[in-house]
Amino acid sequence: MKKNKISINGKIYFAEQGQSVLEVAKKNGINIPSLCYHPDLKPGESCRLCLVEVKGRKGLFTSCGLTIEDGMEIITDSPVIKKARKINLELIMAQHREECNDCVWGFNCRLLELAKEFKVDFDMKDRKSEEPKYNFGPAIHFDSTKCMDCQNCVQACAQQVGFLEVQEDGDFFKIGFAKDKDCIYCGQCLMHCPVGAFEGVGEFEEVDKALLNENKHVVVQFAPSIRVSIGEEFGMGYGKVVTGQLVAGIRKLGIDKVFDVSVGADLVTMEEAEELKDRIVNGGVLPMMTSCCPGWVKYVEYYRPDLIPHLTTVRSPQVLMGGLIKTYWAEKNGIDPKDIIVVSIMPCTAKKYEITKEELLVNGIKPVDYVLTTRELAYVMKKKGIDLSKLKPEKANVPLGDPSGAGVIYGATGGVMESALRTAYFKITGNNLKKIDFKSVRGINGCKTASVKIGDTKINIAVSSGIKNTECLLENMKHYHYMEIMACPGGCISGGGQPIPTTDEIRKMRIAAIYGVDKKKKIRSAHESVEIKELYNTFFKDEKNVHSICHTKFSQKKRMGAKKVK
């Protein structure tokens, strides 16, 4: 690709054609204040902070929307730029209601950082302080008093389902809700909001309630992707595997029993591989589609009920594990299931919705009682002065704490598919794969397809992440035998409960870390896991247990929309 030479503040840089000035600056460590810019999105150019001057041109330009040209000379700071940034910042501050104690940006708020840097005056009355607040189902909270009208959420949602839209509202506009659409709770709005106008329902308020229940046995289970993301919240860097510290941190909160949802994922793999085999051999509905992503399931149940027969009946890892804890583990330890509180640490806001589904009850009891996101767990830990980076690694409790590598890669797009293939191959041929890495289904590409030979059968597979990508694949679904679908781009490692910011660069590092865990594991297939074998030789020998704990059914769902809350 042709390289262009530009200068920024007198220094020469080479940049690729089509890049924006802001991108080049960021890549080279030059700080240009920006707020509404997000590398996932088309620049909205609404905040007017990333201002620069271009030699030979009149006026100021926003660097996020300014495409570089060969020979361009950029100045990122001047008295005029400073003055303009300060005034625009004051205007944004006066629009956005500050509620810093209750914000997903926590101590990383760029707005506050900039306010300090530019010595912003807070002397205007907040314009939006009387605006409404909403809950989207039991998952997402939208506080429009904090919204700065950048429309990032609308753009992010357009890549998903288009529930959020711009609506005219008197002299202004507002973020409204499309009448014929419903939220699937993926939380991508939250992940792209620069000012924390979105958060998980109960984020900050209910975290203590979940963990401090003295009369009950509170157990915590953590999802596969948490181990490669929560370290970011403690300044441990991107793509750092912190499984042991995570377990230790949870124990520091006073929780004795810590389980790994990746074991649940191994069980999902076992059941799903069996179901795939059955559908292929006995002429069942194909393609079979994964159902461990609750955002995707909500999408099917609301937008595409015609696809319900395609969904695997296997429950998601957290729900399956929760059910197992309240039966198998409860029995083993002689505890009444009613006295157990299961708290899941999830990368996901839709998981908060998933646990409210009545069809998932086991013997009339909820498998999971609370879902906390990665961010929420980090928040509680920080509040209690727990710093993960300072802790000695500990091991999760066994059983239900020692997964195969296949159970861990569930956290990345393609991981469920790869895990299922490893085991399905064994189930169909009776042999283990010689080469168990399926590189063609890995990576952040939103649409991946491949053909795999299992014995004499050629299986066509498709993996997608992000709903818009999924919709493209669904148009040709009859070509496939098996499809893995995740609502969030890149899979759970960039779910709506993950640390912010999340960008492609960060997604890649989290993904690399998760495959690193798999590679280091001795046992990398679900069917080889000692824990799993033990389960199928004992508790799961009884088909009734398998059925009630591992499987579910789906049905068309009505619109829940957005509900005004106080």
Binding site: E45, C47, R48, L60, V80, A84, I87, I92, Q95, V166
Partner: protein, 326 residues
């Protein structure tokens, strides 16, 4: 290429306000490649107190349609849209439809707000999206409506294109004169006359102390009596204010309200700044420092030309009238 040459030689410039050379614009649309080309006649006329496009449609609709027809003949595979002010639509619908018979010309009602008359916003509105301006470049002549090269000219411009084509153009333009004057109205006069001469010749030169706003009832600049030697620029609108009768603060409130209602709210300086100007003007003690700061960011950092243009009327009024009184 005959017509483009004639347009260039005539020296005709766009009559919507920005004054871009018409011949050059036509040449660009002609030279830019596209499966199709679009011609848009901008009849949105959104400036308060200006009605010259309405006057032209009332009196010379044939010429306007003829101008559009010349464009249709000049650009292969082209289609035209008359993008029209909502109030004008019922008045001229039948006439324009009849005159367009057999031609690929359709009528499209203007979107909401003052911003909906801005040229890139017109494209968004016609394509069915929210009335928000597009990023430039690319300019409409390169990638306009549905990504095709698009010619956007004002009603008056099309009128004069027809005149030039027929060899009947003699260097005139339309002036809309309103306000505290004896004979308000729309006049077709020499484009070379100074503002002073225009007011005198139309019997509109005030007898008492006054100031004027040139270029539109919102975005126009304020001039004093001693500054009338120049030719009126922009859309050819002259609004006269009797100095004794006019309260500058009320005039500013009028503008501020107009902008707050008519902008798209996309970017911070215009949305929040516009709101804060209204707020500041309505306070007991007006915070001029704040207003000046906001005018500064409007001028320097607005996304589109509308936002940038807000600076002009306010700053010229503050400088020439308000500060003079102090």
């Amino acid at each position: 290429m005959e017509i483009i040459k004639a347009l260039k030689e005539s020296g005709l410039t766009g009559r919507s306000g920005s004054g871009f050379p018409t011949g050059l614009k036509w040449e660009m649309v002609k030279n830019n490649k596209g499966k199709k080309k679009y011609i848009i006649c901008n009849a949105s006329e959104g400036e308060p107190k200006v009605s010259k496009d309405k006057y032209i449609l009332e009196n010379y609709a044939e010429e306007v349609i003829n101008g559009i027809k010349i464009a249709l003949d000049t650009f292969r595979d082209s289609e035209a849209i008359i993008y029209i002010n909502k109030e004008y639509y019922p008045l001229f619908k039948t006439k324009l439809t009849n005159l367009s018979k057999g031609l690929p010309i359709s009528l499209f009602k203007k979107g909401p707000g003052y911003i909906a008359g801005e040229e890139t916003t017109i494209l968004e509105v016609i394509e069915g999206r929210r009335a928000e301006p597009r990023k430039k470049p690319p300019f409409p002549v390169e990638k306009g409506l549905y990504g095709m090269p698009t010619l956007i000219n004002n009603v008056e411009t099309f009128y004069y294109i027809s005149k030039i084509f027929k060899g009947e153009y003699f260097g005139t333009r339309f002036y809309s004169i309103t306000g505290d004057v004896k004979s308000p109205g729309v006049y077709e006069l020499s484009a070379d006359w100074s503002t002073k001469k225009i007011l005198e010749e139309t019997d509109n030169y005030p007898t008492s102390e006054f100031f004027i706003q040139i270029g539109g009832g919102a975005c126009g600049e304020i001039f004093l009596e001693k500054e009338l030697k120049n030719k009126p620029c922009g859309s050819g609108s002259i609004i006269v204010f009797d100095k004794k009768k006019t309260k500058p603060i009320d005039l500013m409130k009028e503008w501020a309200d107009f902008y707050m209602k008519g902008n798209c709210n996309k970017c911070v300086p215009c949305r929040e700044g516009g709101y804060r100007i209204v707020e500041a003007l309505n306070e007991k003690k007006v915070n001029w420092e704040r207003i000046n700061e906001i005018l500064f960011v409007l001028k320097e950092t607005s996304f589109c030309s509308l936002g940038k243009s807000i600076y002009t009327p306010f700053s010229s009024l503050i400088k020439k009238i308000l500060n003079e009184k102090k």
